[in-house]
Subunit: 174 residues, 2 copies
Amino acid sequence: MTHHADYSNFANTLSKKDTLELVVESYAALADGQTNWVANLANCASLVHHAYHSLSVPVNWAGFYVLDPKKDNQLILGPFMGKVACQVIPFDKGVCGTAAVTTQTQLVSDVEKFPGHIACDGETQSEIVLPILDKEGKLRGVLDVDCLALNGFNEMDQKILESLCKLIGETCEW
Amino acid sequence: MTHHADYSNFANTLSKKDTLELVVESYAALADGQTNWVANLANCASLVHHAYHSLSVPVNWAGFYVLDPKKDNQLILGPFMGKVACQVIPFDKGVCGTAAVTTQTQLVSDVEKFPGHIACDGETQSEIVLPILDKEGKLRGVLDVDCLALNGFNEMDQKILESLCKLIGETCEW
């Protein structure tokens, strides 16, 4: 018998490319017929967390910030895996805010060197934040993955996670 | 300097009662001035997960199901910590559905003995599910905590988690 939890079991013999591509495939399967953004992002955070842990990448936080329905130009915490996080992030603050304003992926090898970095967790050393746009090209949120090591992410992570974010934007009703 | 992540660091010298009561206090602090249910439940799932892990209780899933806005008498996945989970649960199915229909806490020492149990993860052996009612007494969702061991939870968990769910119901806009 298979269970939903099995989606989180990534073989640790897979390459990084294969593991991250499996995240995208698994998300596509889970979102097939389900458009609820909270449910889809919650399972997606679990996939990303477990994928990086199977690769022994020390990801300490993986999850989402979305547009705050109560305040313009502000992100608010969405589903995630990890320790308790900052609830709101203004657009002009930190890595997440920069990704939101520019709608460009922010690949940060050392968060201490990023101007205006917001530390929700002082242990984070590197980070990748990717914008999520809906079918109409409107910003809806960001995917944020944090790592306890410097240089946790590279262009391969960026490329595959960008395809994940494209799929998220297209499959959810916001 | 303190960080939001510090809320997740429970001293493993605390008693179970003190640890779970600290979850309630921490949730109250985080929800002070913040009514967004997604943000509040996401941080709450993190608090519950880290609290049980500091107590060495093998909790494998901690999170929320809420009313599905698209279908009456159905729960849909909310924020959680753990492996990928079932996206929807009809009211008449399993432990979560029973908690929703009866608006009574379900303390299940052995999930295999619960009629109609839905296994999102075949490794779960015991479970506690508590209803969340808003200020008007309307059901809004459930808190679900799963354990890899039999008899993972008792009346103390029930009592303190019920006070947590009462606070969640009162502090969130749904």
